[in-house]
Every structure is written in C-alpha cells, then in structure tokens.
C-alpha cells in the first residue's frame, strides 16, 4: 500500500461550474462540508417534525382509557415509525451534521478528507429515510417496533411490505453512517493543523473520533441482521424462524450488539459538545481532559459487552445475567465521572447563563435521571420488574432527549451564530428553553410512575385502572407543549437566519479554532493557522495578542 493521498478540494475536485447564487442546484451538488453539515441538520429537523407528529397522534390515542382515536394497526405503525425515525433519521443525522460541519473547523482543516464521499453519505441516508416512508404508500409502514423482534418480523406474522422497507431503509442509512465514520476518522487522523498533536484535540473532536470507531464496529451487526431478515422474508431462509429451526434470540443478540453501542453513538458527540459549552461559558479549561476523553474511550469499549442487559427477562441464567449486570454497572461509573467533571469545570468559574449553557446545565439534571434509571436496569431483579414497561419508555427518552438532544440543542445555540452569521436573542432562546424543559418533564416524568404501576409499553390502549387515565393525560399535555416549543424553535431559527442581529466571528469569547473564522466561515475555512500547543488554540492566540502571560 502506498502513502495515503487525499484530494484537496481547491485543486483536485472537478469543477462543477456552479456558483454560490444558483440556489438549490448549488446546495444539491455541493461537496463543501459546511453545506453538507447544514443539510444534515435540515434533514434531521424535517424528520423531527414527522416523527414528532407521529408521537402527538399516538399520545392523543393514549390520553384516555379505552380510546378509539387510532386503531391498533395504525397505532403500531406510528410508534414503530416514531422510534425508528427519531433514532436513525433525526438523532443520527443531527450528530453527523455537527460532526462534519465542525470537525474540520476545529482541527484547522479546510475540508473533510473525502468530500465527495461526504455528499454520498448524506444523500444515501436521506433516500433511505424516504424509502422507509414510502412504505406508507405501499401497504403500510413497519409495525414491529424499532427493535423489531423475531419471529414477529417474519412473513408469517407480518405479511405486509413494511418490514422489508424497514430493512432496506435502515441498510441505506447504515451505509451512509458507516462511510461518514470512515471519512471522519481519516479527517481527524490525517488533516489536522500541522502543529496539532492528538493531545490537543478539542474534546468534541475526540468524542467524534471515538464515536466513529464505535460506528464502524457496531453497524456491521445490524447490517448483517437486516440482510438475514430480508433473506428470511424473501427467500425463506429461516434464520430467525423457530418453527424451522431458526433462533428468535439470534435476532436479539445481533440487534442489541448494534443497538446498545448505538445509544452511545447518539450521545458521545453530545458529551463532546457539552464539554466545549461548559468550558467556554465557565471561562475555564475543561476539568480532567484526560479523564473525560479516557472515560469516553472506556464507554466505547464497554459498549460491546453490555448488550444482553436488554435480554435479562429472556431466561438466560444467573451467570450470563451476572456478567452483563457487572459490565452495565461499570458504564455508570464511566458516565458518572463525566457528570462530576463538568460540575468541576463550572466550579470556581465565571459562569454566563446563555441559552446554550442553560441547556448544558439542564442536561446535567435530566441525564442524571436517565442515567440512574439506566443503572436500575443493570440491577437484574429491578430490570425483571421494569423492563418493557413505561418506565423504560421514560428512561430512553431521558437518555435520548435529556441526554443526546439537550446536548445537541446546547450545540445548536452555541454554534448557530457561526453557522448562520446571525444571533438568536437570548430572551427568545430562554423562552424556548423553558417551554421545552417543562414539556419534556411533564411528558416523561410521569411515565416512570406508569411503568411502576404495571403499564406495559406499546399498548394501543389500556383499561380504566386507577391512576392510568390521569397520568397518561398529563403526559399527552406535556407532549403538546413540547410540540409547540419545537414549532417556536423553528420560527426562531428561520426568523433570525434572515433578520437576526449580525454575529461577529467570536461572539462567545470562545476557545477553539472554528471561532477564528468569519461567521459564517468562507468556502475556504482558514487562511493562516496559529501554532497549536493546547486544546484551546484560539484562546492561546487571544491571550498572546492581549500581551497576557499564558498561565498554562
């Protein structure tokens, strides 16, 4: 193998003869990582609205006992599409969007390592999502839940085409995600500013790197499982069909061998974003850089040894349950370290409570709730009680929303001035913050109680058992507050993109290289780069200019 040669867009990419003023054509044909990043985010927002609408519809159905708003078939399709969409086509594109937009900027690169592959990844994932939704026009959407257990996913029990669309849609999405992961790894390893050591990578970039390896290792499991399921359904292969000697548990192993790392795939970049936000708005370096990065790596490694905690109720025996209980509990230690490191970052700092920082602080509370309920699932006997109930529904939403999404929203408010060149007024940002936080907690906090009261998940209706009606009604009201707050956010983004106050290059007095560029950055990100000798190169540059002695 010869030395790796990377194409540089300015000189080696084919000239597409499309200029900046050609609107849509220019966006569709772009290979610029910033435009692709923005399109990833728009992709995510589009499907957030669709997946959110599905959630509102089935929350109406669940608002009252014995309700008849949606039939069971429609309900099952909607909750399946909600989960699948939110995980694969909302959170995934959102983390990839921030990753491809800011990774090159934060390491002083002008482009991703493979710009055309970058565009390919985006579009193939987008068409995967469209294909998944096409199922509605062809006999009905998948209805087996996002983890789609065998043998309910086999032709015998799901005779429509929905599950086939699920397989192909997710395979295409998986191809996009995997190729982006390769792209990000090569970018980080090969395209850094010359003086930037691995020890000087911003925490966000470290998390993106760790995450990309996690993607590379986790996605083959689901891609294999999806292919096997397609073979089962189309060519009678019987991998998962017990009546023909197949194993339904094999699907669970393959799915969760991907599925549990996937949870960390969706949160590690958020951890990275939060690390940047906490240090900038505390005016202090991140506490325990090595510890934070190290615990991220530990989480990534442990991620592959915890999957059977999704199967504690499958009757696998004390030895297996014990092993996976121990590994899952250790994840709690690695995550706890992060929470306390962020608090320590704030300790003794000079805190500015911008909207981004508010989301970061709210994250600490919400994610602690999600983390603690997660630990209760590592304790096998408690898992036996509460798995597959509304308590799990509450838990995953505290992790995915209170964890991943709060981190992403902190990132959105932190980076919006850089991406759009405009500011969002703090007052409006905070109105959105409070609406969203109240709506979110109202929707999901009560679901912990519903689970403990014996309500199992994925039921399209429930008998009028004392307490069920009231709590479900509160939850539905909360969901509508969340829905409204998301509309308000979209309004804020659109309005301020056009009419907001112009943003300077460095509105937050931030630390990393992306803030050295103009807002928004020019097509060629950087002219000259300062020498890098810490993970806060831009701060080093600013303190030098001010003639201050660099303390570190």
């Amino acid at each position: 193998m010869g030395p790796v040669r990377l194409p540089r867009p300015q000189s080696e990419l084919p000239n597409l003869n499309v200029s900046n003023d050609q609107g849509l054509l220019q966006w569709i044909s772009t290979v610029d990582h910033k435009q692709i990043g923005v399109m990833y985010l728009l992709f995510s927002v589009l499907f957030l609205c669709i997946g959110g609408l599905a959630a509102l519809l089935f929350r109406i159905q669940l608002a009252l006992p014995n309700n008849n708003f949606l039939g069971p078939e429609m309900f099952n399709q909607l909750f399946t599409m909600h989960g699948t969409t939110m995980i694969f086509f909302v959170l995934t594109p959102a983390i990839l969007g921030f990753s491809v937009y800011f990774t090159p900027l934060m390491i002083g690169a002008n482009e991703m390592a493979f710009p055309r592959l970058n565009a390919f990844s985006l579009w193939i994932a987008f068409f995967g999502a469209l294909l998944l939704y096409f199922s509605f026009l062809n006999g009905g959407a998948p209805d087996g839940g996002w983890f789609n257990y065998a043998p309910l996913n086999e032709k015998q029990y799901a005779s429509g085409n929905g599950i086939d669309y699920y397989c192909i849609g997710l395979l295409l999405g998986g191809i996009g995600t995997t190729s982006t992961a390769i792209n990000l790894i090569v970018t980080i390893l090969k395209c850094r500013a010359k003086t930037m050591d691995m020890r000087h990578l911003p925490v966000f970039v470290w998390m993106v790197l760790v995450n990309s390896f996690l993607i590379l290792a986790a996605f083959p499991a689901i891609n294999a499982a999806l292919c096997m399921l397609l073979l089962d359904r189309q060519l009678q292969a019987h991998f998962f069909d017990p009546s023909m000697g197949g194993s339904p548990l094999l699907w669970q192993h393959l799915f969760w061998l991907f599925g549990h790392p996937e949870v960390y795939i969706l949160i590690l970049p958020s951890f990275g974003i939060l690390s940047e936000v906490f240090q900038v708005f505390s005016r202090k370096p991140i506490f325990g850089y090595k510890l934070l990065v190290g615990s991220g790596i530990v989480i990534a490694l442990l991620a592959f040894g915890v999957w059977m905690h999704h199967m504690f109720a499958a009757g696998l025996g004390i030895t297996i349950n014990g092993f996976f209980s121990a590994s899952s509990l250790l994840i709690g230690v690695a995550t706890g370290v992060k929470i306390f490191s962020w608090i320590a970052t704030m300790w003794g700092g000079s805190l500015r409570f911008t909207t981004a920082m508010m989301f970061a602080c709210a994250f600490l509370v919400e994610f602690t709730i999600g983390g603690l309920s997660g630990i209760s699932f590592a304790i096998v006997p408690i898992d036996w009680q509460l798995t597959d109930t509304y308590y799990v529904v509450a838990h995953i939403h505290y992790v995915f929303i209170g964890g991943s999404l709060f981190g992403l929203l902190a990132g959105l408010f932190y980076w919006f001035p850089k991406m759009s060149g405009r500011m969002i007024p703090e007052r409006n940002g905070k109105i959105f913050f409070w609406l969203f936080v109240i709506g979110f907690n109202m929707t999901f906090l009560v679901q912990h109680a519903l689970g403990a009261m014996g309500m199992s998940r994925r039921v399209y209706t429930y008998p009028d058992i004392p307490g069920y009606g009231t709590l479900n009604f509160i939850s539905t009201c909360g969901a509508f507050i969340m829905g409204m707050s998301v509309l308000y956010l979209l309004y804020l983004l659109m309005k301020n993109k056009r009419h907001g106050k112009e943003a300077p290059g460095d509105p937050w007095d931030a630390y990393t290289l992306e803030w050295m560029t103009t807002s928004p950055p020019a097509l060629k990100n950087f002219g000259a780069l300062p020498p890098v000798f810490s993970e806060r190169p831009f701060r080093d540059l600013k303190t030098e200019r001010l003639g201050k002695k660099n303390i570190n």
Binding site: L152, M346, G348, I379, P381, Q385, S456
Partner: protein, 317 residues
C-alpha cells in the same frame, strides 16, 4: 384531596409485594432508590450551589484549574464502590428469587398465544384459558412457553417477569402469600392486540384450588334446554370445533382457547370485557370489531344462530 387519597390507595404497583419473590426484589429496589436519590440530590445540589456561587464576574478570568487528583480519585472510587455493592446484592437476590430449576417438573405450564393465555395443569391434565388459578402458601414452578411469537408473563405484584420464547422453556418461581385476584399483562410487544392480552391470576388456598381443579377436570355438562342443544349442534357442525376444545365432545381444536368451562370465567378475550351473555353475543356477531386483528374471523351468523350459540356457551359451567 380525598379523591386523590382514594386513588393512591387503590393503585396497583410493583411495590405491593404479593409473593416472597417480589418482597426480595423490592428490598433491593428500595436500597437502590435511596442510593439513587442520594446521587440525584448531590448532582442537583452541586449544580445549584455552583450556579449561584460562581455567576459571571466581568473581566476577571478565573483561575485556570485543569485537574485535581483527589477529586478525580473520589469521582471514580465512590461510584465504583457503590456499583460493586449493588452488584453483590444483584447476584444474591437473583440466586434467592430464581434459583436454577434442575429437573423439577413444573406445576403449571403457561403458553402465550396471539392474544390469549393457555394454562395447563399437568397433574390433572387440566387445560384452561386466560384466568389462571394458582394455589397460595406453596412454592409453585411455572413453565412459560409460546405458541407463536415472543410474549412476556408479568404480574407486577408477583415480582419478576419472564419472556415466553418460542422453542424455549423458561421458568419462574412463585410463592404467593395471600388469596386474591391479581392483574397483569403481556409485556413484550406481540402484534396487533398486544394491549388486550391481560393476565388475571386467581390465587386460592389449597382447598379451594383443589376443588376448582377437580371441577375443571370434568368434561362439559350436557345441555338440557332446546336453544342450548341446538347451539351445541351448530357449534359442532360449523368451524367452531376446528379451533376450540370442549372436553367430552367432538370439539378438539387447539388453535383457540379451551371452552370446556367458559361460563365459569369472569372475563372474555383476555380481560377485554366482562363475561356476560350480551358481551358474548357482541363478540360472536362481529369479532373483528370487538378485537380487531384477533385470529377469530368474522363469521356471518344470523341472529338465531348467535342466540343458540350463546345459550350453549352459557351452559359450560
């Protein structure tokens, strides 16, 4: 206020332990709640303290602390000790509640079907559906199986739940303390009517249970009245007998619930409705409207046929 109190008193939850197993699980759960609350309050307390104490001060860059070895050791060490403690309790509780079965024969075999429960009592060769009778003050071993997709047996006040995986025998120990009626539900998504796969356990003391079991082992009573007899003729002549069993008759189907003693049950369709003649009539006239997706197809019966069938089913005490 009194209304709220009333509701709180009647609420069923995982915390009312009706079995020895649930007591053991809940002892662990309460310890976890204490530890979890401690961590949660610690995080929130620190956050509030930090937010108030360290608000922005203009133009003074704070001291750039990067690490503190003692704090780092505490951050790793204390949580590690806590999870080690809970790991120990986890293993201990698992061994105490669900010890390996060895070669013991199960007392009751429960089979999950889309969307009803079949219960078999091997000792007396009894088969029944949906309402499951279990003796109290006795350590009972359940064997859990599935007839089609994965289901999950869960009665919250009994403690652990257990999946029913096709092709695999799973087991669960139960020592129920007091007689009573305990509600539960299928807890693994199993298709269209997952919501209406509710469990009703009737826990009885040994005498009552033995009496019930003896009655249940008897074949169905012969109908006496005219409508009931014509109902039986219709039942045996139409496709009903192909899917349902009525002991003592030619009906030996296995696809649907055993109906030998249907009239002695309190609910129909796994908890969907009360067992009354009107409800039975509604169900027979339009199954797909009452429980859409259920495997009983819409038959086009005329009114007289339905009345006769209901009259016959009513005799199956």
């Amino acid at each position: 206020m009194t209304y709220t109190c009333q509701i709180l008193l009647t609420i069923q939850s995982v915390f009312e332990s009706a079995t020895v197993e649930a007591e053991k699980v809940n002892a662990l759960t309460f310890r976890f709640i204490i530890a979890g609350s401690f961590i949660f309050l610690l995080v929130v307390g620190l956050l509030i303290y930090v937010s108030v104490k360290f608000r922005a001060k203009p133009d003074a860059e704070p001291i750039q602390v990067r690490r503190n070895k003692k704090a780092e050791v505490a951050m790793i060490g204390i949580p590690f000790l806590m999870v080690a403690f809970f790991f120990y309790l986890t293993i201990k509780t698992m061994e105490a509640t669900e010890p390996p079965v060895q070669n013991q024969k199960p007392d009751i075999i429960i089979v999950g079907h889309q969307w009803w429960w079949e219960a078999r009592y091997p000792v007396k060769n009894v088969v029944t559906a949906n309402e499951i009778h279990i003796p109290v003050q006795k350590k009972v071993l359940l064997q859990l199986n599935s007839g089609d997709v994965i289901h999950d047996w869960w009665v919250p006040s009994f403690g652990p739940k257990m999946d029913m995986v096709p092709g695999i025998n799973n087991y669960l120990w139960l020592y129920i303390r007091k007689p009573g009626i305990y509600e539960g539900t299928c807890s693994e998504f199993c298709g269209v009517q997952h919501a209406w796969m509710r469990i009703r356990v009737i826990a009885q003391d040994t005498g009552d249970f033995q009496r019930w079991l003896t009655a249940e082992a008897m074949p169905a009573l012969q109908p006496i009245t005219g409508p009931a007899r014509s109902g039986r003729t219709i039942f045996m002549g139409l496709t009903c007998a192909g899917c349902h069993t009525i002991k003592g008759t030619v009906a030996m189907g296995r696809a649907g619930p055993d109906l030998t003693h249907l009239a002695s049950r309190e609910t129909l369709l796994s908890g969907k409705m009360e067992n009354t003649d009107e409800n039975l009539e509604k169900w027979l006239s339009h199954p797909q409207k009452i429980k859409p997706g259920a495997h009983m197809p819409d038959f086009i019966f005329n009114k007289d046929t339905i009345t006769a069938l209901v009259a016959y089913l009513h005799t199956l005490q």
